[in-house]
C-alpha cells in the first residue's frame, strides 16, 4: 500500500484516504473576461503532463479534509515531498 505524508496531520497515511486533485500551482486568472479564448483554454485544459517530477494537488479527503501539494515522480510513483497549500513551490 502506498503511504502519503499529509503535511497537516504530519503523518504517513494510506493512499485510499486521499483524492488526487490535478496539477498544482495553477492560479485562477483574476479577471477571466479579459482573457482571449486561447488564454482561457490554456488555463482550463493545458497541463505540463510531466514525465518525472510533477507538482500536484492532493486532498486528505477521508482524514483532515485539507488540500495540499506534492511532488511525485510520474515514472516511479514515488513521492519526493508534500507541503501545505499556499507554500512556495518546491
Amino acid at each position: 500500500m502506498l503511504l502519503i505524508h499529509c503535511p497537516y496531520c504530519d503523518e504517513k497515511r494510506p493512499e485510499i484516504e486521499f483524492a488526487y486533485g490535478g496539477e498544482a500551482h495553477i492560479a485562477r486568472p483574476l479577471d477571466p473576461s479579459a482573457l482571449s479564448d486561447e488564454e482561457w483554454e490554456t488555463y482550463l485544459f493545458i497541463r505540463s503532463n510531466a514525465r518525472g517530477r510533477h507538482h500536484e494537488r492532493w486532498r486528505h479527503i477521508h482524514g483532515c479534509g485539507r488540500f495540499f501539494n506534492a511532488v511525485r515522480d510520474t515514472v516511479t510513483d514515488k513521492f519526493e515531498t508534500t507541503y501545505k497549500a499556499g507554500e512556495e513551490r518546491r
Partner: protein, 167 residues
C-alpha cells in the same frame, strides 16, 4: 429542538459478539460540527478547551483537521452558536450514529476494512478515516474499545460488514 434532533438509530438493538469482540449500537449523542480558522475564537465561543492538535480529543471534542472539530456530547448539551463570530457551530446530531467495538479483537476487526495501522493509534486519539468505501470517524477510547461515528445511511452496511468480518 434537542429532543427532535436526536432520532432513532438505523442499527439493530441487539449487539453481536464473536471471538474476542463485541459490537453494539452506541447510546444517542449530541453532535456538533465545529469550524474555525482560529481555534482560540472557537474555544472562547463554546467555552471549552480544544485539543490543540489534529487527532487529539479533549472532553468529548475531537480535532479532525486544522480548522475542524467534532463534539460528541451527552444528549441535551447545547453549545452557543457564536453568531457574528468567525466560527461555525452546527448541530449534526442526526447525521451520524455510533457503533461501539470492544474486546481483545476490536482493533483487528476494524483493521479488516480500515487501512490504518491501529497499533500506532494511542488511546484517546480520534481521526476521520475509511472502512472499505465508507467514511467514518474512529475514536480509540481505550486499548480494547473503539467508538465509530458513521453517517446513518452508511451505518447498516458498515454494521453488516463488521458482522461478516467478525464471523
Amino acid at each position: 429542538m434537542s429532543s427532535l434532533s436526536v432520532s432513532t438509530s438505523p442499527l439493530p438493538d441487539e449487539p453481536f459478539a464473536a471471538d474476542g469482540v463485541r459490537v453494539s449500537r452506541s447510546a444517542a449523542l449530541q453532535r456538533y460540527s465545529l469550524r474555525a480558522r482560529d481555534p482560540a475564537k472557537l474555544a472562547a465561543v463554546v467555552g471549552r478547551e480544544l485539543p490543540g492538535r489534529i487527532g487529539g480529543v479533549t472532553d468529548g471534542i475531537a480535532q479532525l483537521g486544522p480548522d475542524e472539530f467534532l463534539a460528541l456530547l451527552p444528549v441535551g448539551t447545547q453549545l452557543p452558536s457564536g453568531e457574528e463570530e468567525p466560527v461555525s457551530v452546527v448541530d449534526i446530531s442526526s447525521r451520524a450514529v455510533g457503533i461501539t467495538v470492544e474486546g481483545e479483537g476490536a482493533a483487528a476487526l476494524i483493521m479488516s476494512g480500515c487501512p490504518l495501522d491501529l497499533d500506532r493509534m494511542a488511546p484517546g486519539q480520534a481521526t476521520r478515516t475509511i472502512y472499505e468505501t465508507v467514511e467514518m470517524v474512529l475514536v480509540r477510547e481505550s486499548e480494547t474499545r473503539f467508538h465509530i461515528e458513521v453517517w446513518r445511511s452508511f451505518a447498516p452496511w458498515l454494521w453488516q460488514s463488521l458482522r461478516l468480518s467478525a464471523e
